[in-house]
């Protein structure tokens, strides 16, 4: 009697536990799981991997889509036309990028590093989820100019994509959600955490004197808006750039409808800043010295200019030199040269993805 009861109790406990675990289990993507590695000392990522776990197949599909010109109306503008590996996934030497029918984009293409920690995208923060982000450039008439339905029809007709979607998501179904989730998987792998600065922080390297001095100046004069380890606090601020009369871009105000957000833009990360020139939301400043001179003297204090910039940021020529030395140490060549982010084999080569090659 006693033994039977104990066994019954044990069995019931196991059943209870199993049903509890079963309730907690979430659907996973099929395929070969890929672990997301958070660099030492960094916070947990913001992207929810529970609904879109990384797999080898999902990442490969996302990479292919990222380089495929057919995501654009005329086939000429893959994501990679404005986001190039050697420019840390920004657009090399372009203040504004080129899109469909010889049109300019209205903003400078940002670097795509460390998106897993971001909760809002675009210079104005208008996009609230990484999965929804690609739909903006894909459908913008001056960028990729494509209709989502037409684009999905192109992918469905392709000889390869149906099987790639099956490998990544379990069936041949191709829809907007799967396409954007695959792109997210690829984008999430773009982690930049191996610059000289990171090596110094890990005790594997040491700064040369100008970098060391620059780091001290940086912590004193720049880090309030560009804190480590992301070198941005992801906030929206007016840093004293006047309204461009042609672009008429009021930034964050377009999203919130609040006049106190006029001319505020997202504080960009400074990781790989040396290779992501030109700078600012419209690429109006060409080099790092132009940026420092903007904060030192040229910026204009207006009604919504950030409280930290009311007196600008006075910088001596010496300080500027040391700061630039430090900023260069944020360049992560293991990121810019990572073969995982390069054009995958089998995707038709695009002129636009070659270093220094001008569009058209």
């Amino acid at each position: 009697m006693r033994t039977t009861l104990t066994i019954a109790l044990l069995f019931t406990a196991v059943v209870a536990l199993c049903s509890f675990i079963k309730q907690k289990a979430k659907p996973r993507n099929p395929g070969t799981p890929v672990a997301f590695v958070v660099p030492k000392g960094w916070p947990a990522i913001k992207y929810n991997l529970d609904s879109n776990g990384l797999t080898k197949e999902g990442i490969a599909l996302g990479r292919r889509l990222f380089y495929d010109g057919r995501l654009s109306k005329d086939g000429q503008f893959p994501c990679a036309s404005c986001h190039q590996p050697f420019a840390a996934m920004a657009n090399f030497d372009h203040n504004l990028s080129h899109g469909f029918d010889n049109q300019f984009t209205t903003r400078n293409a940002p670097s795509l590093a460390n998106l897993a920690w971001q909760t809002a995208f675009h210079w104005d923060g208008g996009i609230n989820h990484l999965d929804a982000q690609p739909l903006a450039p894909i459908t913008a008439p001056n960028e990729m100019a494509e209709d989502i339905g037409t684009l999905l029809a192109k992918l469905k007709k392709d000889s390869l994509y149906p099987s790639l979607f099956r490998a990544a998501f379990g069936s041949k179904i191709i829809n907007t959600q799967r396409m954007t989730r695959a792109l997210s998987q690829f984008l999430l792998t773009m982690v930049s955490a191996n610059s000289k600065y990171d090596k110094v922080m890990r005790g594997e390297d040491s700064f040369i004197l100008p970098q060391k001095l620059g780091y001290e100046i940086f912590k004193l004069k720049c880090a309030a808006c560009h804190p480590e380890p992301f070198f941005t606090d992801f906030s929206y601020r007016n840093n004293g750039l006047t309204l461009d009369p042609v672009l008429k871009d009021y930034g964050r105000m377009r999203i919130t409808g609040n006049s106190s957000d006029s001319l505020k833009f997202k504080v960009p990360s400074l990781r790989n800043v040396y290779v992501t020139y030109p700078y600012m939301h419209d690429g109006r400043l060409t080099g790092l010295y132009d940026v420092l001179e903007h904060y030192n003297k040229k910026m204009v204090v207006g009604p919504t200019t950030d409280s930290l910039l009311q007196n600008k940021i006075p910088l001596s020529n010496f300080e500027k030199g040391q700061l630039v030395a430090f900023l260069v140490a944020l360049t992560d060549t293991s990121f810019t040269k990572d073969p995982r982010f390069s054009q995958p084999p089998g995707v038709p080569s695009s002129l636009f993805c070659a270093p220094g090659h001008h569009l058209r």
Binding site: I127, L135, G149
Partner: protein, 255 residues
């Protein structure tokens, strides 16, 4: 003997714990479900909407509708006691140009209903959770790609008083966060008890009057406002107006 009694009680408790959720689940699934078809009849004033006809709003402004779409979601029914019973995962896109897209069939364990509630628009959770499928797929043209969020309702028309190119009227209404939240909860009492039965099909016909977009809480004259394409005070005002466009037209029960 006392120890055995305790053990039995523990066993009973654990059994309840183990089987509690599946038992509840099967209890929820086991009752007979009754089907209700809810159809939406789009109108202008008292007339059925016809895309070729010219109508007039309360200000005497003429217009011809070229597109009329809206989301109906989070449907619930009031039971005999007036208590709301939610129907999970209910998202529908009512599209004037899609003849199959104007009626919804849903199941409920309720046997008597006294009212219907729904959102015109999409709840905030679905607006912040990435890219969805089905009627919520962004390819349905009811999604802002530049400022993430669903277009809750869309009315496009042409009107001689519109100052926009081609005399167009474009009202894309959305926004899901304060202060620009266009999601409206609609509650429509049936006015009587509707007895449901598994052998019958119960039908609730709801009419939606486009003229309510222009007047009600605020006057929206086409001459003043020919477009609204982002969350904001105009979008709020139009949503507050159209929240009054629905009314129960008929209730029927057929074998």
């Amino acid at each position: 003997m006392w120890g055995l009694k305790t053990k039995l009680m523990v066993l009973q408790a654990l059994l309840l714990l183990a089987l509690g959720s599946p038992a509840q689940k099967s209890k929820k699934e086991s009752p007979i479900l009754n089907n209700i078809t809810i159809s939406f009849e789009n109108k202008v004033g008292g007339q059925l909407l016809d895309m070729d006809s010219v109508y007039q709003n309360a200000f005497g402004e003429a217009f011809t509708v070229t597109q009329f779409k809206y989301y109906i979601s989070n449907i619930s029914f009031n039971d005999a006691a007036g208590k709301e019973a939610k129907i999970p995962d209910t998202y529908f896109l009512i599209n004037q140009q899609d003849s199959a897209g104007k009626s919804i069939t849903i199941s409920t364990p309720l046997s008597v209903i006294t009212g219907i509630n729904f959102l015109i628009g999409i709840d905030s959770i679905k607006n912040v959770s990435g890219v969805q499928t089905g009627v919520l797929d962004p390819l349905n043209g009811m999604f802002w790609t530049w400022s993430t969020g669903y277009i809750m309702a869309k009315l496009e028309a042409v009107s001689p008083v519109s100052k926009a190119p081609q005399s167009r009227v474009t009202y894309h209404i959305g926004g899901f966060t304060a202060p620009y939240n266009a999601v409206k909860k609609i509650s429509l009492p049936l006015g009587s008890l509707l007895q449901l039965h598994p052998a019958n099909i119960s039908r609730i016909s709801i009419s939606a009057d486009i003229n309510k977009w222009f007047s009600g809480a605020s006057d929206i004259r086409i001459a003043d406002h020919n477009f609204c394409m982002n969350p904001g005070s105009l979008s709020n005002a139009i949503a507050a107006n159209y929240a009054a466009m629905f009314s129960i037209q008929s209730i029927s029960l057929s074998k």
